[in-house]
C-alpha cells in the first residue's frame, strides 16, 4: 500500500517539475519574441535621444526648410532638403527603370511564360535579390558611369544617373517577384472567363488580371520605393558625397544614407554636432521608409484578404 503511495507522489513530483520546466520554456520563448518589439523601441529611442541635442542647436524649422547642408564648413548649415532632393532624384531614376521592366517581367512570367521558364527564372530572381549592394556600387561607378560618359561626355565621375540606373536594375527582381505573386494569386476562373469571351492573353492580362491584382502590384511599387530610399552603398560609392540641392540627374549629390556613411567614415566625435546630425538624418529616413512600409503592407494585406 505504502509502495503505491510513494510512486504516486513521485509521479506527482515529476509532473510538477515537468510543468515548471514547461512554463520556464514558454517564458524564454516569449522573451525572444519580445526582442522584436524591443528592437523597434530601441531604434526610436536611440534616434530620438541622440538627436535631441541636435534639435536644441538647430531649429526644426531650419532643419526642414533650409536648402543648405554644410556640417563640415566654417558656417554650418543644417537643412535636410539637399539630402532629401538627392534621395528623391536617385530613387526616381531607379523607379523609372525598375517599374516598367519589373512589371513587364512580372506579367510575362505570370501570364505568358511556360511552366518550365517560370520555374527557371523565379529562383534566379530570388538569387539576384541576395546580391550585396556594395557590388552594385562597383558596377555603378566603374562600369555604368564610364559607359554613360561615352554617350554624354560632360557627365562627372560622380553623378546621380549611373547609381540611379543601377539601383533600378537592382530593384527589378524585387518588383517582379512581389508583383508576380500578386498576379498568380488571381483566381484562374477569372482568366478562364476572359479567355472564353475570346480575349487574348495580353488582353486578359491588361483588362482582367492586372486590375484584379492592382493593390498587390502597387504594394510591390511602394515597397520598392522604400527600398530605394534606404539603399546606401550604391549611392555612397557612385553619387559623390557632397550635399547638393538639385534634382538634376547629371550632377553629383548626396542622399540621406550617403551622408550618414560619409560622417561614419570620418572620425566620429561622440556627442559632437556632426555625430548628432546623423541621427537627425536617420529620423527622417526612418519616418519615410516606415510610412511607406506600413502603406505597402496595408495595401498588400487588403489584396490578400480579397482572394
Amino acid at each position: 500500500m505504502s509502495k503505491t503511495k510513494s510512486t504516486v507522489s513521485k509521479a506527482l513530483a515529476k509532473n510538477i517539475r515537468r510543468n515548471f520546466v514547461e512554463r520556464l520554456i514558454e517564458w524564454a520563448l516569449m522573451l525572444s519574441g519580445l526582442i522584436a518589439i524591443l528592437i523597434t523601441f530601441g531604434i526610436v529611442f536611440i534616434l530620438v535621444t541622440e538627436s535631441i541635442p541636435f534639435f536644441e542647436a538647430v531649429s526644426i524649422k531650419e532643419f526642414l526648410t533650409s536648402t543648405i547642408w554644410t556640417p563640415n564648413f566654417e558656417i554650418k548649415n543644417y537643412g535636410i532638403l539637399p539630402l532629401v532632393a538627392g534621395t528623391v532624384t536617385i530613387t526616381g531614376i531607379a523607379l523609372l527603370v525598375a517599374i516598367p521592366l519589373g512589371t513587364i517581367t512580372a506579367v510575362y512570367l505570370s501570364e505568358f511564360a511556360s511552366h518550365k521558364l517560370r520555374e527557371t527564372v523565379k529562383p534566379i530572381l530570388e538569387l539576384l535579390v541576395g546580391v550585396p549592394t556594395v557590388v552594385f556600387g562597383y558596377f555603378a561607378l566603374l562600369l555604368v558611369t564610364p559607359l554613360l560618359q561615352k554617350i554624354y561626355p560632360d557627365l562627372p565621375t560622380f553623378n546621380m544617373l549611373g547609381p540611379g540606373i543601377v539601383m533600378g536594375i537592382m530593384i527589378v527582381p524585387y518588383i517582379a517577384s512581389v508583383a508576380e505573386d500578386a498576379m498568380r494569386a488571381v483566381p484562374m476562373a477569372m482568366r478562364e472567363g476572359s479567355y472564353a469571351m475570346g480575349a487574348t492573353r495580353f488582353q486578359t492580362a491588361k483588362t482582367v488580371v492586372m486590375p484584379a491584382a492592382l493593390s498587390g502590384i502597387i504594394a510591390a511599387y511602394i515597397l520598392a520605393i522604400s527600398r530605394g530610399i534606404g539603399e546606401t552603398m550604391i549611392v555612397a560609392i557612385a553619387a559623390g558625397q557632397q550635399p547638393n540641392f538639385t534634382f538634376n540627374p547629371v550632377e553629383s549629390a548626396a542622399t540621406i544614407t550617403a551622408y550618414i556613411v560619409s560622417v561614419a567614415l570620418g572620425d566620429l566625435e561622440h556627442g559632437g554636432i556632426g555625430y548628432q546630425s546623423i541621427f537627425a538624418a536617420g529620423i527622417v529616413l526612418f519616418i519615410m521608409t516606415l510610412s511607406l512600409n506600413i502603406l505597402g503592407q496595408w495595401t498588400r494585406k487588403k489584396f490578400t484578404e480579397r482572394y
Binding site: R18, L29, A36, I43, T133, T289, N293
Partner: protein, 312 residues
C-alpha cells in the same frame, strides 16, 4: 470591346480587330522575353566583368596578405578573418533567438494584441533600411553599452538584421506542418515543449535552415551598418585567435578586437583613384558574390527539395 452594331455587320472589321489583338499579344510576348533576356545578359555581363577583372588577383597570396598601400601585394586576410568572426557572433545570437521567437509566435502565442504587436514589429523590422540598424548599434552597443567598435558590436548589429529573416522562415516552416503530427505526440503523453522540440522542429528543420542560410548570406554582404558603427577600413593585424593552446583552449578576447569585413575592404578599394586598387576591389567583389550566390543557391535548392519531397 470595340464591337458595336455597325461593325458587327462588317466581318472584315472583326477579323481585322482579332488580327490586331493577336498581333499585340505576340508583340508583348516578344517584348517580355526580350526584357527578361536583356536583364539576364546585362547581369551576366556585369558579374563576368567582375570575375574577369579580379581574376589576376585570385591566388593564395590574395587570401593570405594584409591590405597594403601597394595594390599589388595587398590581400584580404584581415577582411575574411573579420567577416568569419563577425558571422560566428551573428549566428550564435540570431539563430537561437529567431527560431525561439518563430516557435513562440506559431506554437505558443495566443491570438491577441500581444501576438499581433510582435507580428507587426517583425514585418516592419524586415523593411527597415540596414543603415538604421547601424545607427541603433552606434548609439546603443558602441556608446550606451560601451562595447566599442568591436567584432562583438558588428556581430550583434548584423544579428538584428538577420533576426526577421530567421523568424519569418521559422514560422513558415512550422505553419506547413499538419496538426495530426502534433496530436499523435500529445496522444502518447508528450508535453508541449516535447511536441515542439522532438516533432515540430524536426520536420521544420529544412525550412528553418533555408532561412538561416539566406540570413547569413545577407549578413556577409551587408556594408552600411558595419561602416556606421565605425569599423576601420584599413586593418593590418589579426584579432587574437579564438583557439589557444592553453586550457580551456578557447578565449574570447577576439570579441573585443578591431576588425574589417570583406564588403568594407571592397568599398575601401573602390574609393581609391588608382586602377590597381579597382582590380583588388573586383577580386574581393567576386569572392563576396560567389559566397552569397552559393549560399542563396543552396537555400533555394533546399527549399525546392522540401516542397517536392514532403507530402503529408
Amino acid at each position: 470591346m470595340a464591337i458595336n452594331d455597325q461593325n458587327i455587320k462588317d466581318l472584315n472589321a472583326i477579323r481585322k480587330l482579332i488580327k490586331q489583338h493577336k498581333k499585340n499579344d505576340s508583340i508583348f510576348a516578344g517584348v517580355g522575353l526580350f526584357v527578361i533576356a536583356t536583364l539576364a545578359v546585362a547581369l551576366l555581363v556585369l558579374f563576368l566583368d567582375l570575375v574577369i577583372d579580379g581574376y589576376p588577383k585570385m591566388n593564395l597570396d590574395f587570401f593570405s596578405n594584409f591590405p597594403s598601400r601597394k595594390a599589388e601585394g595587398a590581400g584580404i586576410l584581415s577582411a575574411w578573418v573579420g567577416s568569419s568572426l563577425v558571422l560566428i557572433v551573428t549566428f550564435f545570437v540570431a539563430v537561437p533567438m529567431g527560431v525561439a521567437a518563430g516557435i513562440y509566435l506559431e506554437e505558443y502565442a495566443k491570438k491577441g494584441w500581444f501576438a499581433d504587436l510582435i507580428e507587426i514589429n517583425v514585418a516592419n523590422l524586415a523593411g527597415v533600411p540596414s543603415i538604421i540598424y547601424g545607427l541603433l548599434a552606434l548609439g546603443l552597443f558602441v556608446y550606451e553599452f560601451g562595447l566599442g567598435q568591436s567584432i562583438l558590436t558588428a556581430g550583434l548589429t548584423l544579428s538584428l538584421l538577420m533576426l526577421p529573416i530567421v523568424i519569418v522562415s521559422t514560422r513558415e516552416a512550422i505553419r506547413a506542418i499538419p496538426v495530426h503530427i502534433r496530436e499523435a505526440a500529445y496522444a502518447v503523453g508528450a508535453t508541449k515543449w516535447q511536441v515542439t522540440l522532438h516533432h515540430v522542429l524536426q520536420y521544420a528543420m529544412g525550412g528553418v535552415l533555408t532561412g538561416i542560410i539566406i540570413g547569413m548570406a545577407r549578413a556577409i554582404g551587408e556594408t552600411a551598418p558595419v561602416i556606421t558603427i565605425g569599423a576601420l577600413t584599413f586593418i593590418a593585424f589579426l584579432p587574437p585567435s579564438p583557439v589557444t593552446d592553453v586550457v580551456p583552449f578557447i578565449n574570447f578576447a577576439w570579441l573585443d578586437a578591431g576588425f574589417t569585413v570583406l564588403p568594407i575592404q571592397m568599398f575601401n578599394w573602390i574609393s581609391r583613384p588608382e586602377h590597381a586598387f579597382h582590380i583588388n576591389a573586383a577580386a574581393t567583389g567576386a569572392v563576396i558574390i560567389i559566397l552569397t550566390l552559393l549560399m542563396n543557391g543552396i537555400a533555394i535548392k533546399l527549399r525546392y527539395n522540401i516542397r517536392k519531397k514532403i507530402k503529408w
